[in-house]
């Protein structure tokens, strides 16, 4: 567990945050530019001093202004991946990696070879840093941070400087880290797509304060997140498990809650855990068992809430058995269907987006052996 409490006043901007993150897992610090996200990670890293605060990670106190404890950044054992990579220009890629390796403290849990394999750095080793593309730079920066054998990995908008294609090139590596190494990560971003792909926990920030936080799946319906992600991105993020592949239709059957979804996907092994996003605008509600419809995906559930979305529509949440999904319908429809809480309802899903493959929470820190070929 990482507990952070920090107050820092500079000019007109006041940062005042307090949150607890379960570890391991990926906590996304999500918010607009200037909301204080980077200040928070810099404070966790020890590069910025808060006026008052306390930071405790897995029982070790890193900062406590009341007790005058302030572990310097070089002793905090935090890996930091900066937005601009910050590779050392006078060293080669291998030199950058070894720089970290030589200064690593504590027990080593990931070797240079493992990192090289995990991030595909083998062919880059002899290159100078200015010969790397943006995506390669970030991969090297991630590898370098990992080689300090960190207890926590901080990533400050590592993909913000990259275009769409380069971003796609790095994202799978981050997913690999999340799934195969049990290093807890704090991931700063203002890109909702990255949150959907990576986060297990979301901390929402606005003008220097935390406005909401919680598990990714539970946060997906939070009104603050709604206002940040925009009305078209409103939707449930739920975890599912692959049941099988139907070669005739080319669809993969995924179990979510009590129901099944058929999604366009191939090459997913039975039992693979995935994360799917059901956008509220793609969900239709029926109060009777629907028949004779073109829509293939239908989930039965119980209405748990109806709330105004501040844009003239209603957001209806439906429990489909251990998971909640949400549908956006007009107020007129709510009236005509006389929708109320605890009613049986059927959700017709027009489209399902896969958000990240093989999403598994790393086992709680038992053995931290990392294997790149897992």
């Amino acid at each position: 567990m990482l507990s952070v409490a920090a107050v820092r006043k500079r000019g007109a901007f006041t940062l005042d945050v307090r949150f607890d993150l379960p570890t391991p897992g990926v906590a996304a610090l999500f918010g607009r530019s200037g909301s204080g996200k980077s200040t928070v990670v810099n404070t966790i890293a020890g590069l910025l001093k808060p006026d008052a605060g306390r930071i405790v990670h897995d029982g070790s106190v890193l900062l406590d202004t009341q007790r005058q404890i302030d572990v310097p950044p070089e002793c905090r054992r935090m890996g930091y991946v900066f937005q601009d990579a910050r590779l050392f220009p006078h060293l080669s890629v291998a030199g950058n990696l070894r720089y970290a390796e030589r200064r690593a403290a504590g027990s080593a849990y990931v070797s240079l070879d493992a990192v090289t394999g995990l991030l595909d750095l083998g062919s880059l080793m002899d290159r100078r840093t200015h010969q790397l593309s943006g995506g390669e730079r970030q991969r090297v920066a991630i590898g370098r941070a990992l080689l300090t054998q960190p207890q926590l990995l901080l990533l400050d908008e590592p993909l913000a400087g990259l275009d769409g294609a380069r971003r796609e090139e790095v994202l799978p590596y981050l997913e690999t880290l999340r799934d195969h190494l049990s290093i807890p990560m704090v991931y700063v971003t203002h890109d909702f797509d990255e949150v959907l792909r990576l986060a297990t926990h979301i901390v929402l920030m606005e003008s220097g304060v935390v406005v909401a936080q919680g598990e990714a799946a539970k946060m997906s319906l939070d009104p603050h997140l709604r206002s940040l992600s925009g009305p078209d991105q409103v939707g449930a993020i739920i975890e599912g498990v692959v049941l099988g592949f139907d070669s005739a239709s080319g669809l993969t059957k995924v179990r979510v809650g009590h129901g099944d979804l058929h999604v366009q996907a191939k090459d997913l092994a039975v039992g693979t855990a995935l994360r799917v996003q059901l956008l509220a605008r793609d969900v239709i509600i029926s109060t009777q068992i629907p028949r004779h419809l073109s829509v293939r995906n239908c989930l039965a559930g119980l209405v748990t809430g109806i709330q105004d979305d501040d844009l003239g529509s209603d957001l209806v949440t439906i429990d489909i058995g251990g998971a909640e999904i949400v549908a956006r319908i007009t107020k007129a429809a709510t009236r005509e269907l006389s929708l109320t809480a605890q009613m049986n309802a059927w959700a017709l899903v027009k489209s399902v987006s896969l958000r990240g493959h093989s999403f598994t929470l790393p086992a709680p820190a038992t053995t931290s052996a990392a294997s790149p070929d897992a």
Binding site: E74, R76, Y80, F82, R86, H90, Y99, Q131, R144, A145
Partner: protein, 230 residues
């Protein structure tokens, strides 16, 4: 050196030796002062900055005179040095090296400061998160990144040291074989009747040295820039 006369090669050797010693003496001090002036905020920083740069704006004769006052036989520091170390500066090549060092110090500090200001503090922060402590960071990140400035500073200071005239002649006089460096020899030749030919040869020698220094400096800084990937 067969194409030089005995006097000429003596002046050349003396110049090179004095310049080398002044640069070697200045190098660590200049790095320290450049670092202090760039990175440390303290009361009196502007005063220190002005003191360091004073030799640039003062007539060299004044610098030589102040050195005489401080390091002369009866000077505050000079008498102490003589008593404790038996070190005599006045009228010696050590004294010439000191005068040259003082005169070229600001050139060295300036070059280093500029390159130190260009060192990305973010890289030092990155090194910090990788577990590098202060001295380690300075040696492995800051110093290599300010190398262009160090190279430029050393070469500029060395060239200036070869040509230092006023402070040297005022402080340690013009003694053949001890303090008569190239510019002093050139001056002496010009003062003596029929010395035009000798003066021209010495001037040519100085020219060659200067040009060589500039070319060397260019070659070095290109190499360093390539090393830093710029």
């Amino acid at each position: 050196m067969m194409w030089l006369t005995a006097d000429e090669s003596e002046a050349l050797r003396l110049s090179l030796s004095i310049a080398t010693r002044s640069v070697a003496f200045n190098l660590p001090a200049a790095i320290l002062i450049a670092w202090v002036l760039t990175r440390v905020r303290f009361v009196g920083r502007t005063l220190l900055d002005a003191l360091v740069h004073l030799p640039l704006v003062l007539p060299p004769v004044v610098v030589g005179y102040v050195l005489l006052l401080l390091f002369g036989t009866h000077g505050f520091i000079g008498s102490w040095l003589q008593k404790v170390f038996g070190l005599e500066l006045i009228f010696t090549r050590n004294g010439a090296a000191l005068a040259t060092a003082v005169m070229s110090f600001p050139l060295m500090v300036r070059a280093m400061r500029i390159s130190l200001e260009n060192v990305d503090r973010g890289l030092e922060d990155a090194a910090r998160t990788l577990g590098a402590r202060a001295a380690d960071r300075f040696a492995t990140i800051t110093l290599p990144l300010m190398l262009p400035g160090i190279v430029a500073g050393v070469i500029t200071a060395f060239s200036a040291a070869l040509g230092e005239f006023g402070a040297v002649i005022t402080f340690v006089s013009n003694i053949p074989g001890e303090t008569r460096t190239l510019p002093l020899a050139l001056y002496t030749a010009l003062q003596s009747p029929g010395g035009e030919h000798a003066a021209a040869r010495l001037a040519g020698l100085s020219l060659g040295l200067g040009l060589g220094g500039l070319l060397l400096s260019e070659w070095f800084s290109r190499r360093v820039r390539r090393m830093l990937g710029r």
